[in-house]
Symmetry: C2
Subunit: 425 residues, 2 copies
Amino acid sequence: MITTSCKNKEELQKKYESMLQRYEALKLEGLKLDMSRGKPSKLQLDLVSDLLGVLVDPKDCIADGCDSRNYGELSGLKCAREYWAEILGCKPSQTFVGGNASLNLMYDVISKAYTHGLTDSPRPWCKEEKVKFLCPAPGYDRHFRITQSFGFELIAVEMTPDGPNMDAVERLVQDPAVKGIWCVPKYSNPQGYTYSEETVNRFANLKPAAPDFTIMWDNAYCIHEFAGEFEPFPDIISLCEAAGRPNMVYEFASTSKVTFPGAGISVMATSEANIAYQTKLLGVQTISYDKVNQLRHVRYLKDKAHTLELMKKHAAIMAPKFEMVLHMLNEELAGQGIAQWHAPKGGYFVCVAAMPGTAKRTLALCKQAGVTMTEAGATYPYGIDPQDSMIRIAPSLPPIEELEKAMQVFCTCLRLAALEKMLQD
Amino acid sequence: MITTSCKNKEELQKKYESMLQRYEALKLEGLKLDMSRGKPSKLQLDLVSDLLGVLVDPKDCIADGCDSRNYGELSGLKCAREYWAEILGCKPSQTFVGGNASLNLMYDVISKAYTHGLTDSPRPWCKEEKVKFLCPAPGYDRHFRITQSFGFELIAVEMTPDGPNMDAVERLVQDPAVKGIWCVPKYSNPQGYTYSEETVNRFANLKPAAPDFTIMWDNAYCIHEFAGEFEPFPDIISLCEAAGRPNMVYEFASTSKVTFPGAGISVMATSEANIAYQTKLLGVQTISYDKVNQLRHVRYLKDKAHTLELMKKHAAIMAPKFEMVLHMLNEELAGQGIAQWHAPKGGYFVCVAAMPGTAKRTLALCKQAGVTMTEAGATYPYGIDPQDSMIRIAPSLPPIEELEKAMQVFCTCLRLAALEKMLQD
């Protein structure tokens, strides 16, 4: 896959010195650039700031006879549930609209599984001798950390361009201690892969040994194309229902990358039995979520068609950044056998597989030159990339001029680390 | 306390028949009135709806160099922490500003204690053989339900006009299985009692056997006077610090009854060590809370002085309702030995102690006549009032005309239930 070109040591040493010179020059610039997190840019925030003004008249706060300003409607405003059902392709009765963070809804599901069990659990997971959780890797560090925080054993599953290695998944779920799996099915974090139809169907038709095995289907980038048209995607909920395990999947989404990352609305979608079960448990912790913000969002986003139009405007801001990243990777790293990557059509990341054993070193070099990236290893369970190879690039936050500079630094550091490694070997 | 007057059976029977007639007449009116929950009224919601329009310009979304629209600042915007510190009389570094529900922050503390333990816990509470929790009763049903949902044993502690019976509390905390207590220190739910200075000091100086014994100090009505001036109240956090157990207390408050019940902001205040510990745990479940709404609130409420002015306007709406309730109770029930109550100066409730054995019957009669009240027993652990006596009246939601009618029904039902009881005995 990644092979060291046949150069003699002298040539390598020369290359290394020239790269080092370039690196030292970049270091002198005293940069302070951040490509660490999938944060929307200020331009994107400004793009959607009309959201702030769509709900200012108290008369507008009433929706379907419910005053959004007061307590009540734990599972969300009717119009908000309808909005999300259209986006996800499920029924409103299969949705639960929460607060500003889908991550919190995911945590709630895992936390409730631990303390109380899920719909089909024989007992709470804290009463199990051992709980194992599947983590397609590279994946999203915050997912892994939730299950790690409850002491579950995290099992890495190889990611392929079609999604997780389903042969491995089907084998692993035969173990009754394996209670679930994390998935980002569309534009996966960090590689930007979209699960194939076959993968999705194999998920829906899983026959795990644990009766309460749970697919955590984080559809974070369900409408987040930045290149090309919106890509329809199968509804996992009806597929699981058709396959006879309707309670096996919880799907999640939010407007964190549609409107405001810190101040959007979130949704959990699952079988009606799961909705009823979780609503009962969530009713102990809260009276209701922020329905004013739910209504504000529905008024602003309207429906799927209107939201997709807005996503085109986000794409217009995002696309040049991804093009820049991919252009730089091609210019600087292609054909040298020191890095591989996939060009995604949506999502928030580009993932570079550096020469094994060089990811940490690359990012340490970046840091010394003032460029912050997601920590090496972060995309693997326990923060340990066994190959020390995967690097996540998050191009969304910096303005494009800064991004170009940051990518110059990154590519230089990656090449320098690869040359160091080749000289050592 | 409550004594049956010495009437002969015939007189009682006559009284009963006349009361029954009055009840039947009220039933015929086909009422549909709700005094079940401490929900602010539409007038109060309209009073504060300028909140919706104070943050519409994207330029206004930046506070202390932080863009409230983006991810970050898990423990809350600086200005929001300063706002709450002034309200509660503690330091900003002792605050954590959350989402729309302080109940959720309380749940988080108990849930984390169960799954991970608290700052001074030898182990997570789920690993303890038994966890007991003190519940001053009558109290708030949602508090009790949180601890019940984790399987803790709830121990009722008698409420007095000065707060919980502290002799009992000091005795009970000698048991290392007793891990905490629920408190509503100002205008307690439902009786409207404010803890005396002595009670507060005895709380701060508790020496519980459990090193992680936790006072859940729900200061829900900290600025919620509806009669008279704002009453200053001691800062429990510095008192616990001075007494040498700084990590023993978590205080909570929210704007649920200042701005919008479903769409306000909440705060948790505690020692800096506890803030650091909880921030680490909460950082697993969420990236940040809704800072746009935090900023919207700070812009609208400004500071303590300005907020207290607003609370005067709430009081102007609330006071006539409480006066009506107390007037009706006096007119209909005083001096008959069938009910007792306290006239509170703040909070959201009036609590009536009916003749033992008549609370359930009273509320069943109310229901048949179309008046919904908080379920009998709800203010006691496990929903069981051993005396079947306490009834919580929530006068805030209905318009005053409806309230008068509802109170007519309530008083009639209570008298009818008392007469039935006296005829049986």
